[in-house]
């Protein structure tokens, strides 16, 4: 089961943004990210807006072509494959996206939405495809499937639409699913239901998930490992419980403390906050990108030297000068 499924190395995605009338400036959305997803595991990518987490997901599915670095999928280099060469990859790597209202075509019935990927990849006869559609709907607990298949998206609640999105990702029996904020638009009382469903499908089919979220609490409960991103870089990664309970990077620690738990005494005290705002991706700070906001910044080091991501405890990495590489 623990075969390497997806490996990205030193991945970079730069966008060109217009500056002034004729100038342009590079937006470094993703600036040297390395990570891997094993089959059957969920890696959560946690970060705030602008951290590059969505860009990472889009690059991992090769929806965009990276500026630098490499992406290997089951050992095969897919970094620079052309659209026609990506066919086999696309069948094995699917996505579930944030907005279940705009990611489904309102003019297509659930059956048509689910059949489309099968048709594109030339799977089965029409009769076989109908069977597969019903199976996929049963997988995401939409019953009776014969009736659900005839519905149109506007007839479904947000939770049901997202289930259709999951069924669509699942129908080709992929090895890998990118789930980009799949529950952020779902009601709180139904959110866990969708996440449990994804967990169960992962176990049934041994799928590797890249779960992209701003919600570190769901990442704790629904992923095996967490990688925390800040300003286009991974600043910490490790086993989910360990990253939350014993964070190594000051940013991770501050992020955790910024989130309120339901507690009536919260209102009586100020919440510890990270001062300032995340840096501009066009001019990230020199050295460690978090140093201008970091309460532990070491003068002479943090603003000068970019800390590498190193393994501090088994499987638990961080990029921070507070945790220097042990001398050999």
């Amino acid at each position: 089961m623990n075969a390497e499924l997806l490996r990205v190395e030193d991945l970079k995605v730069y966008y060109q943004a217009r500056k002034g009338l004729i100038g342009s400036v590079a937006v470094k959305a993703l600036d040297g990210v390395s990570l891997e997803v094993q089959s059957g595991e969920t890696l959560a990518i946690v970060g705030e807006s602008g951290s590059g987490k969505t860009t990472l997901g889009r690059a991992a599915l090769r929806l965009i072509r990276p500026t630098g670095g490499s992406i290997h999928f089951r050992g095969e280099d897919v970094t620079n494959l052309s659209d026609s060469g990506l066919g086999a990859f696309r069948r094995r790597a699917q996505g579930v996206f944030q907005d279940p209202y705009s990611s489904l075509d309102g003019f297509m019935s659930v059956a048509q939405i689910l059949e489309e990927p099968l048709v594109i990849h030339g799977v089965g006869t029409h009769g076989e495809r109908v069977e597969m559609i019903h199976d996929a709907l049963r997988d995401v607990r939409m019953s009776p499937p014969e009736e659900m298949a005839t519905k149109f998206p506007h007839m479904l609640s947000g939770g049901l639409r997202q289930r259709v999105g999951i069924a669509r990702a699942l129908i080709l029996r992929p090895d890998f699913i990118l789930a980009d904020e799949p529950v952020s638009m779902i009601d709180a009382s139904s959110r866990a239901e969708i996440l449990y469903l994804m967990l169960e499908l992962q176990r049934t089919y041994g799928i590797g998930f890249l779960y992209i979220t701003h919600d570190i609490a769901t990442a704790r409960h629904f992923s095996d490992r967490i990688a925390v991103m800040y300003a286009g870089r991974v600043v910490e990664s490790g086993p989910a419980g360990q990253v939350i309970d014993e964070p190594l990077h000051p940013y991770t620690e501050a992020l955790i403390r910024a989130i309120p738990e339901p507690d009536a005494s919260n209102r009586l005290r100020q919440r510890p906050v990270i001062p300032g705002e995340p840096p501009s991706p066009t001019e990230p700070p020199a050295g460690c990108r978090f140093h201008p906001r970091c309460p532990f910044a070491i003068a002479g080091t943090c603003e000068v030297v970019d800390p590498p991501l190193i393994e501090v405890k088994p499987g638990h990495m961080t990029a921070c000068h507070l945790h220097p590489e042990p001398e050999e």
Binding site: E48, S190, A192, R220, L255, I256, A258, E277
Partner: protein, 320 residues
């Protein structure tokens, strides 16, 4: 005397079929200097409640009624024009959800904050500017931000501008509709700290509307839980969070993934009802694990669970 006393407030929307009963008989009080959290899922009617209080009614509004006593005055008796001149923004203001995107892109933000002062109060430009700058100090925005345009500001800064704007005519009560839902958690925490300061230092009262009960606990003295257009529970934040009486509140709390604990979050099966035809009896009964004989037949009354804590549930109403 309470600052705000709302009794049986209703706001429905006309549709081609049955009306949407978005606010359906809501009653509560708010004391001076306190913050009330109104917690509910999407479609529960929490935003409609704020629009009903502000009397900012969509054109298909119908069935708008009930009593709203603000500072001893029955504001529902005022004409629209009187309400606009005497109440809205002066006694009661609001920060709308996603409001940071409603700033006028071609005007400097300081000017936009000053506008009501010049239009409504006839303040001179210099006076208005002085007031704007002191408001910017209050919401911890650098003064030079007043001369910038919205696109030059981050989301967090724009939200501070919106909070400054809500305070410009010195209202006693500010309704905040999901004021942090578009912000990152690190910026959200800064915003919550600011609101706590405004509450403590200026004695402003807040109605804080949110889908996130944990976030409500970061500011609010009392918490009201709304479900399908009705307030199903209201009590002190402590009681509502630690001894919730309504099964919906209990299950909602159980659905929050906790950072500090290993217990995995649970979920409430089913979905909130369609407000054009809410379920008979208790509106939560189709999703309630404790449903019994009267629940699908009769609407439960709001019954006292403890001193100052009420819930709309037959489990409570029949105990007595």
């Amino acid at each position: 005397m309470s600052l705000l006393e709302v009794t049986d407030l209703t706001l429905h929307y006309a549709t081609r079929e049955d009306p949407v009963r978005a606010v359906d008989g809501v009653s509560f009080r708010l004391e001076r200097g306190q913050a009330l959290g109104v917690v509910g899922e999407s479609g529960s009617g929490k935003t409609s409640l704020s629009l009903a209080l502000m009397r900012l009614l969509p054109s298909n509004a119908t069935g708008y009624g009930g009593s709203v006593m603000l500072d001893g005055q029955e504001v529902m008796a005022l004409s629209d024009d009187e309400f606009r001149r005497q109440v809205r923004w002066r006694k009661l203001s609001m920060v709308f959800q996603g409001a940071q995107n409603s700033l006028n892109p071609v005007l400097r933000v300081g000017h936009q904050v000053a506008e009501p002062l010049m239009l409504e109060n006839g303040a001179r430009k210099a006076q208005a500017r002085e007031r704007v700058l002191s408001l910017f100090d209050l919401v911890r925005l650098p003064r030079e931000v007043a001369d910038r345009y919205p696109h030059e500001l981050s989301g967090g800064m724009k939200q501070r501008v919106m909070i400054a704007m809500s305070l410009v005519l010195d209202p006693a009560l500010v309704v905040l509709d999901e004021p942090t839902s578009a912000l990152d958690v690190s910026i959200q925490a800064q915003m919550m700290n600011l609101l706590k300061d405004l509450k403590r230092d200026l004695g402003i009262s807040f109605i804080f509307i949110t889908h996130d009960i944990a976030l409500a606990s970061d500011l609010c003295d009392r918490i009201a839980v709304v479900y399908a257009g009705q307030m199903v529970e209201i009590g002190s934040a402590d009681d509502a969070l630690t001894q919730p009486s309504h099964p919906y509140t209990q299950l909602l709390l159980g659905s929050i993934p906790r950072l500090a604990a290993d217990e995995p979050p649970q979920f409430i099966p089913g979905a909130p009802p369609d407000l054009t035809g809410p379920p008979s009896g208790c509106r939560f009964h189709p999703r309630c694990p404790y449903v019994f004989e009267p629940c699908d037949r009769d609407d439960p009354p709001l019954a006292a669970a403890r001193e100052g804590h009420e819930a709309r549930c037959w489990l409570l109403a029949t105990e007595k």
